[in-house]
Symmetry: C2
Subunit: 135 residues, 2 copies
């Protein structure tokens, strides 16, 4: 499969406004968008950097995976997302090569794009998201 | 300051050869280089992805920061590195805006390039490296 690029690095935070004091105000990244993402029970800030993004994710419930991560480990890097052209081919290749996936089939986001997660146990402790983009 | 891009995401691993079984063999990233980095007391694998890299770092001593991270938290995402055109300007801006730096002055790597780390306490729990590249 072809991995095109790092789409984003996701950082779980407990307060997105305070997080922006560092990532936007001190570091100087541009805040492209800040929106509620009900499917992820989170508020997400999108800050482009080069050909990728930093995403700041603030859980808005206590029972999501990210909320539990935040409670257990505190704020910090949560996952990295890699762009692929064909997510089903990518998932088949990974399964054939012994990697464990969290999702058996691709999930579909509110914007129609498809994504899936590889289990950290297969990926040296890193939660890896695959994200399909056309072309 | 201008942040150009994500230079790399660094992943600390306990065994780089086993780590490559996922990142290179299952996922399909290219291994561009695998080398000893005495200054970091580590073996490092460089796997380009788009305009960035995944770096797999295996500590070769037990007393480095990454070795302690590995012992305490296990393998996983360790830091992200952002490219800047002028590292001293970047560090001055961050200090002026209240961010805490780990390094008071830029460090110089074996290849002559300059870098510095921002303290995770200032950066929502994320260890952020700044890395100066020309142009």
């Amino acid at each position: 499969m072809q991995i095109k690029k790092i789409n984003h690095a996701a950082i779980v935070v407990d307060n997105i406004d305070r997080a922006l004091e560092f990532w936007r105000d001190a570091l100087g990244l541009e805040l492209a968008e800040l929106r509620e993402v009900p499917a992820e029970a989170a508020r997400v800030a999108f800050l482009p950097v080069g050909d990728s993004e930093i995403e700041l994710v603030q859980p808005v419930t206590t029972d999501s995976g990210m909320a539990k991560f935040l409670e257990k480990r505190g704020a910090g890097l949560h996952h990295i997302c890699l762009e692929v052209a064909d997510i089903e081919a990518a998932m088949e290749q990974l399964k054939a090569r012994g990697a464990r996936l969290i999702n058996e089939k691709p999930l579909t986001g509110a914007d129609g794009r498809r994504y899936a997660f590889i289990h950290p146990q297969s990926a040296t402790g890193v939660l890896v998201e695959l994200y399909e983009t056309a072309g």
